[in-house]
Amino acid sequence: MIMTIFRLILLVGLIVCAAATALAKKPMQAVIIYMAFSVIMSVVWIMLESPDLAITEAAVGAGITSLLLFLTLRRLNLIDQDEAHRRHEEILKKKAPTAEQKEEADHAQ
């Protein structure tokens, strides 16, 4: 009984993830939701008593395919960064934000 309810919740989650991927406005949102879809699919394979498929889907679907999609997003310049991520990247590249940007950030807060 409980397993049936769990399986129903997983399947509903699958459909919700697929619909959200279809309705996402930006490609980056679609890729991230597709990663979640792959992970839920991996658990569905376990509910169908096939652990081989679960390991392969987790490694290949949620790992490699999503990685390739992210790399494509980078080559197509479609990754949208928010402010915190941009600052973190500047710190990693050892570029201190200019005085103008610091003032902007202070005013925004």
Binding site: S50, P51, D52, A54, I55, T56, A58, A59, V60, G63, I64, L67, L68, L71, T72, R74, R75, E89, L92, K93, K94
Partner: protein, 296 residues
């Protein structure tokens, strides 16, 4: 008209009279310009797109609904979910489960299925992976140090971050070991060539991500990757040829199935798992490097 070559020297020497030239040009009537006829303007384009859009949307909606309807009709006529009297549960599955361990030596029935009873399909699938790697190489290969360095420059240098660096130093060998464990235990427990190879590939990808593309290219050169893939595919083809040859001619083969449950058993399944794992690992790693850098 004065000669063009001497014009500058004569003008510098004050010998050119511009007023005469201007008067000459004013007497000639200007030629009428040819009318400009654009053969594709914006209004035409918009009209064509809108007309085609309407037809396309109607056809697409109709075909989607029709397909979904037919598929649901098929699902309604399928045997009930989880029934054991379905036509798919027949003597084929019975033979695979009952005689599987005895004939192949593998405890994992699915591994024995894909690498012994139906090894030809797995060979075809390895060839699909190899073909995809060749195709991605042809599409994305852009060698040449300037182009490769330009693509590398946009990537954030994760080596500067101390947390990532330290954690990856500890974690990459563990991931590699885990991948090798899953690979070698394909015939005893869930796992096998595909998942083990993908996990080994992710260890190599983390290394290339943190230490940079150039160090990864030095540590895992392109020639090594290609030689490993070719040797693995060749070994799979040759060993399975021997197995098919002895099997179909009812000859005894030197490869014995061994005791089920031990690592060195199940005949050819362990070496075939290893070769499939290597093919998958090298293919996934080269996908990553070609997408990121343009060169392995």
């Amino acid at each position: 008209m004065p000669n063009e070559k001497n014009l500058l020297r004569r003008w510098l020497n004050g010998q050119v009279d511009w007023s005469a030239m201007l008067e000459q040009q004013q007497t000639e009537p200007p030629k009428a310009a040819a009318p400009y006829e654009p053969h594709w303007d914006a209004a035409d384009a918009r009209r064509a797109v809108r007309r085609g859009q309407w037809a396309y949307t109607t056809l697409a909606v109709a075909s989607c609904l029709l397909l979904a309807l037919f598929l649901l009709l098929t699902v309604a006529n399928l045997p009930p979910y989880g029934s054991d009297s379905a036509p798919t549960v027949n003597e084929v599955a019975q033979r695979y489960v009952e005689k599987g361990t005895e004939e192949t030596g593998a405890v994992n029935t699915v591994a024995g299925l894909i690498l012994d009873y139906r090894a030809f399909d797995t060979l075809g699938e390895s060839f699909v992976l190899f073909t995809a790697m060749c195709a991605v190489t042809m599409l994305m290969n852009a060698p040449g140090r300037r182009r490769v360095r330009k693509l590398d420059q946009d990537i954030v240098d994760y080596y500067q971050d101390p947390i990532i660096r330290t954690v990856c130093k500890m974690v990459i060998p563990i991931i590699l070991l885990f991948g090798i464990y899953i690979l070698l235990n394909g015939h005893l427990s869930p796992g096998g060539g595909f998942s083990g190879g993908a996990i080994m590939a992710s260890a190599l990808i983390i290394y290339a991500l943190v230490w940079g593309g150039e160090r990864a290219a030095k540590a895992i050169p392109a020639k090594t990757v290609r030689i490993i893939v070719l040797c693995a595919l060749g070994f799979y083809a040759c060993s399975k040829t021997y197995s098919f040859f002895t099997g179909s001619n009812h000859l005894p083969s030197i490869i014995s199935t061994g005791t089920p449950g031990r690592i060195l058993s199940a005949g050819l399944i362990l070496p075939l798992n290893v070769s499939v794992g290597f093919v998958v690992c090298c293919t996934m790693y080269s996908f990553y490097m070609y997408f990121r850098r343009g060169d392995v």
